[in-house]
């Protein structure tokens, strides 16, 4: 197999364990003073790239490049990717809110510069749940895509991906270069070890701007309002089966 370069997209999002709150202006969720981490699906993407290299050897996977589009703090997320095992990082720095199409356009330019033969992305980011970037990137590049991967391998220079579909497992094959988006069960990401965290500080991290890449990141959608879901009504303890039946019939109206 000829030598591969793998590009992995990572996004900095509000930590999955944080209970999000809508901000007072109702324009989005509160992000100030809230813990941020790498999007969990992107952690899985990085892990998969590292595992491909561990499985096939350094000659087969020559380089893993992490890329993130976002504000200055996105560099923390890139450092995490580097500490997990990526070799270098590209930061597309912008404070603007990015829609999936803008991210896909930015990534397509990074792909043009870096020339990877495999791009692995999380299937979605847990903050906006769009699930579009990988598919749009495949469209822009005219590359094959294998989404929602639960198993990834490279055989004879071709990509083989197992996808979890409604009826069971679907195995697909595609020629490289290709796009893969990761599902939750693909792998369990590793912890960043101290020696690797120290090494990560010395790994190269390049910063570019959307303008450098010649991409217009103007949003096409405008967020009108963000509201919290209705508060759940508290449960009730009933004293008898009769009362339960009565409530099911007359209050819940399910009987």
């Amino acid at each position: 197999m000829s030598s591969l370069r793998i590009l992995v997209g990572v996004k900095r999002v509000v930590d999955s364990a944080v209970k999000v709150r809508v901000n007072s202006a109702q324009t989005g969720v509160e992000t100030a003073n809230v813990k941020h981490s790498m999007n969990p699906f992107d952690e899985i993407a990085i892990e998969e790239a590292i595992r491909l290299r561990e499985k096939h050897g350094k000659d087969a996977v020559e380089e893993i490049v992490a890329v993130s589009c976002g504000p200055a703090k996105a560099q923390e997320t890139l450092r995490t990717a580097l500490a997990m095992g990526a070799d270098r990082a590209v930061h597309v720095k912008t404070d603007a809110d990015l829609e999936p199409l803008s991210v896909a356009k930015l990534l397509s330019k990074v792909v043009a510069a870096e020339k990877p033969s495999l791009v692995i992305l999380g299937k979605q980011a847990i903050d906006d749940d769009s699930n579009q970037t990988g598919q749009m990137l495949a469209g822009l590049l005219s590359w094959p895509q294998a989404t929602f991967a639960s198993k990834v391998d490279i055989k004879d220079g071709a990509l083989e991906v197992v996808r979890e579909v409604d009826g069971g497992l679907e195995t697909v094959s595609a020629a490289l270069p290709a796009i893969v988006t990761t599902d939750l069960r693909l792998n369990e990401p590793r912890y960043a070890s101290l020696p690797n965290i120290m090494k990560a500080k010395k790994k190269p991290l390049k910063t570019v701007s959307p303008a450098d890449l010649g991409v217009d990141i103007q949003s096409r959608l405008q967020t009108l309002k963000v509201t919290e879901p209705a508060k759940r009504q508290g449960g009730k303890i009933v004293a008898s089966v009769d009362e339960l039946l009565d409530k099911l019939r007359n209050e819940a109206k399910v009987l």
Partner: protein
């Protein structure tokens, strides 16, 4: 036999330069009075069970009738033996502790909903001379929360309301039966945390925490409950309600009576309400797990952690390879490190400025690696990794429990010699041919140690095939002698309960024990509250 042991406690020789000689003397005194250990029940359960005191009234149907008059029906669980209709199996969870080591045979469980009901119950029991065991979440480890014989179980689980919360001062006032984790969630939504946290948080009650002066994993940062508890509401055995529900941080008016109830293990009064100061939730938390080659290095790392991260250091926990083996076997967790080490350390920082904390923690970890104090480590990158790392430490007791019946010793020892006792005990068990490390099929499966280094608190655990005399005799009273000779405490955070009452003399002088008894007599002259325990 009890009186003999107690006499020994009173005549305990002073420990000092001649500690070893004193210990030898103590040992020979004990040897002269052979201790009889008795197994109770069908399964492997073993402990010293004092005889039932004949001064206590045997519960009768009239007593249950009386409780039915003063309490709502759903709060009473009485077996047919005392005129009730509850299946004895329903009382099982109140009669046995979670280690399945201690077991009583109470026929009556009362679960009052109000302080007034608690008062009415105690007044009646005191008048009638009926023994009572107060019970919270029943997660204790020293047999303090279950009846020894037929004491009435007074469960506080129905008293579980939050009374008030002041978001400005962070002062929480609540019923004693509130579950610690639920309180944590409640104050968590208001950007605060409980000043204590422990593995049993999902079951244990705040009242029980206070009654046992529980320690846990936030002790290093937020200190003892003697500091964070601001007020208590306590019902005395005669029914008097001692309302000391202060929400004041400062109150120097006379004797601070609430302090007596903190750690009294339900032997002086029943705590029904708690007023407690909750700290602000730290906005930045870092957790790392380290692989450490020796106990000496565990100490060096602690020293450096205090020097570099003193003001943000919020936990420093350690466990040994045997603990790790049990956790990885019994929990759905993977080792954050890529190989095995003799010791593991979990270090946590909590602060309010992420960049500042990250930088300090990063510098500390780098220094630890560069100096070779630790050999490997992993730094949590997100909150789910933080909780998995904590789950590893907090999963130790449960994992050991799944390995087999576990002898637990919770002791305070000066940090430099803290871990020596684990090796000593393993050596004694090996000499007695009861244990071969790493080899299955022996009466003892595992000897291990873990705990809160920052607080000088070791949990020495011995996992056996079953609880039996020849094993118990290896470390009782040896462990207590050992601890005593190093001027440690035979109970760091688990309390005395039934398990350690007869060994109190190893940590407290005869004069102190004598005054403890006078305090007990003052509050509970008939001795109905949690009898056979503590003093």
């Amino acid at each position: 036999m009890l009186s003999a042991v107690r006499a020994f406690a009173i005549s305990r020789p002073a420990l000092g330069a001649t500690a070893t000689a004193a210990v030898a003397a103590v040992a020979s005194r004990l040897a002269a009075k052979p201790r009889t250990l008795a197994a109770f029940g069908k399964d492997s359960r073993l402990y010293h069970k004092p005889a039932r005191s004949s001064t206590f009234k045997k519960l009768g149907k009239d007593d249950v009738r009386h409780f039915e008059r003063i309490l709502p029906a759903e709060t009473i669980l009485a077996t047919p033996a005392v005129g009730g209709s509850a299946d004895p199996i329903e009382l099982e969870g109140f009669n046995a502790d979670w280690l399945n080591k201690y077991r009583g045979s109470s026929q009556l469980v009362l679960r009052p909903k109000t302080t007034k009901e608690v008062s009415d119950i105690l007044k009646y029991c005191n008048d009638q001379g009926i023994a009572v065991v107060p019970q919270g979440g029943n997660t204790g480890l020293v047999g303090g929360s279950v009846p020894v014989h037929d004491e009435v179980v007074l469960s506080l689980r129905n008293m579980n309301k939050i009374r008030s919360y002041d978001e400005l001062s962070g002062i929480l006032v609540c019923d004693a039966g509130c579950v610690l984790e639920e309180l944590g969630n409640y104050v968590g939504e208001r950007d605060h945390i409980m000043p204590l946290d422990l593995g049993a948080k999902g079951s244990c009650h705040i009242g029980g925490n206070v009654a046992t002066n529980a320690g846990g994993i936030r002790f290093l940062r937020y200190g003892t409950l003697h500091g964070s508890v601001l007020g208590l509401e306590v019902v005395l055995p005669d029914g008097t309600i001692l309302d000391n529900m202060s929400t004041l941080r400062k109150d120097n008016t006379g004797y601070d009576l609430k302090q007596l109830f903190i750690g009294s293990e339900g032997s002086l009064g029943v705590i029904t309400g708690v007023s407690i100061a909750t700290p602000r939730k730290p906005s930045s938390v870092n957790v790392a797990v380290l692989g450490v080659p020796s106990y000496e290095n565990v100490q060096q790392a602690f020293k450096l952690a205090r020097r570099r991260c003193g003001e943000i250091l919020s936990a420093y926990e350690f466990w040994d390879a045997n603990c790790m083996g049990a956790v990885l076997k019994h929990q759905e967790l993977k080792n954050p490190l890529s190989s095995d080490y003799p010791f593991y350390v979990l270090i946590e920082t909590s602060g309010s400025n992420k960049d500042h904390d990250d930088e300090k923690m990063g510098a500390l970890l780098e220094e630890l690696m560069e100096q070779g104090i630790v050999e490997d480590g992993a730094l949590a990158q997100d909150d789910s990794q933080i909780s998995r790392m904590w789950a590893m430490r907090e999963g130790i007791p449960e994992s050991l429990g799944k390995t087999g019946p576990t002898y637990k010793y919770d002791v305070s020892i000066p940090i430099p010699v803290l871990y020596d006792i684990v090796g000593d005990i393993a050596g004694r068990l090996e000499t007695a041919k009861l244990y071969t490390p790493g080899e299955p099929g022996n009466p003892v499966r595992l000897v291990c140690g873990y705990g809160h280094i920052g607080d000088g608190n070791l949990h020495l655990n011995v996992v056996a095939e079953k609880f039996e005399d020849r094993i118990t005799n290896i470390f009782e009273p040896y462990v207590y002698e050992w601890v005593s000779s190093h001027r440690g405490s035979i109970s760091a955070e688990h309390g005395v309960g039934l398990m350690k009452r007869d060994y109190l003399g190893y940590s407290k002088s005869p004069e102190m024990i004598s005054y403890m008894k006078r305090i007990k007599d003052l509050f509970d002259p008939k001795g109905i509250l949690n009898p056979y325990k503590v003093v």
